[in-house]
Amino acid sequence: MKLHVEGLSVRFRLPGAVVQAVTDARFTLDQGRCLALVGESGCGKSVMAHALLGLLPANAAVTGHAWLDDLDLITAPEQVLARQVRGRRIGLIPQSPAAHLTPVRTARAQLAETLRELGRPDTPDALARRAGLRPADLDRYPHQLSGGMAQRVANALALAGDPPLLLADEPTTGLDRPLVDATMAELRRLCDEGRSVLLITHDLRAAEQVADDIAVMYASRIVELASARAFFDGPRHPYAQGLLDALPTRAFTPIPGQPPELTRLPDGCAFQPRCPRATALCEEQPVLNEVACHHA
């Protein structure tokens, strides 16, 4: 299984404005690899994941291609996505999982139903253990779960269909460090067994544990694509450098300036207004060639 994203863009139409949520994304996720997608809050990570699964609302316009082997996910009919793709070929761990669980059914009932729908032989208990939950916790309703427990239920649900590709959108929120480590080990195991993982995360330490490659997104565009080792040795894009510097283990200083407005992005580099290295060159949109920066 291989995912090849080619010129993927997403626009939201709103009264009086258009939101450029994803612009011309290009990357390949090979079998057995883990790609971590990192970037500023609101830059388009979750929208990109939802676009791959045809889960965007009606005011979204998606263009470009996303090839899952020889199926184009962007043009595939809803029926194909619903019957063959979601949960089976691509699993999704949604961000804010508690908001996605059915409030009136226990975690166990939801896992059991998903397993039944997908025709899987596993038991809810076995799945729960893989996600770091005690089987006894499955008898609770969503509102009775702690934040980290709801996260683990969502992680278990996404593993139910044993999909060859997993889109994990912030799979570690609410998890303590031992649980984060266990979750990353589980993702690594999936990759080592030949599945692929797109990991969206703000937890750079978790990303470092598991990712083969890192994609950095800023203002709807991928601005750096690097091997995890090269990235953590020293990222090249000024935004990525600022992001690492903001870690509490480092300077803990935010990148100066305001986040970009995706309703009125400049023609040139969107990071320019906040960038210490900006020059007149940056009025022109830099092309992504490992890094999208005129000065890197």
């Binding site: 939201f12 709103l14 404005a17 939101v19 990192v38 970037g39 500023e40 809050s41 609101g42 979750s46 929208v47 609302p57 961000q95 804010s96 508690a98 908001a99 916790d137 009775q144 702690s146 934040g147 980290g148 427990m149 709801a150 683990r152 912030e170 929120t173 609410g174 998890l175 303590d176 460090r177 031992p178 649980l179 984060v180 703000h202 750079l204 600022g242 992001l243 690492l244 903001a246 870690l247 509490p248 283990t249 803990f252 200083t253 935010p254 990148i255 305001q258 986040p259 970009p260 407005e261 995706l262 309703t263 009125r264």
Partner: protein, 243 residues
Amino acid sequence: MLEATAITVSYGRHQVLDGVSLTVAPGETLGLAGPSGCGKSTLARVLALLQRPSGGTLTVDGQPISRWRHRARQRTSIGLIFQQPRLAVDPRFTLLDVIAEPLRAARRPLDRAHELAEEMGLTGELFTRRPHEVSDGQLQRACVARALALEPRYLVCDEMTTMLDASTQAHLVTRIEAYRERTGAGVLAVSHDAELLDRWAGGNVRTWRHRPDVVVNGSGGRPEGTSRDVSDRRIATRPNAEG
């Protein structure tokens, strides 16, 4: 002082908090860590007067609390930033409505909502959007602004930054520290991120160690150590509130 003494909370047979005591002083930033499911959010709701405990006492600046939720008079003295922003907002509200809601209820001028939104790094295009039209981190920032709207004496931040990138996280912590220094408010920061807590609270962190397995009459649920016991872990590099 925001002072919780011997707080117990049970959900049916499950005893989640078993005699927990914790104090947040005005002007203090206290960090609280502990395993997933050990009862941190439950304690946060008790401290914010949103959940009546089964036992124990809570006092706010010396006043004992006897009424909870909307009947608690001191309710606006404590701001809570919920762990899960998607569950904490009315989906029909715009982001600006979310922030202005407490101002409106208290009949205060609403312009403050704009200022707060901008302070949290929300740009103008987002003000009129509804929760499903913004990212999770954008929604969380609106929730932080909402919690600050009435200038609470105490602020409880329950996993405030887990859904935020490192830069936005540093930005929000800087804003909250500036608020604390300006107003002398006390801050309780709950998080799983030990490095963040250390940096944010300058080493003033309590770590809850019990495993979340307590069922009826269990003896767990007591945070170990007091904020003073951990002063040896204080680090020199306090985040600079001016940023």
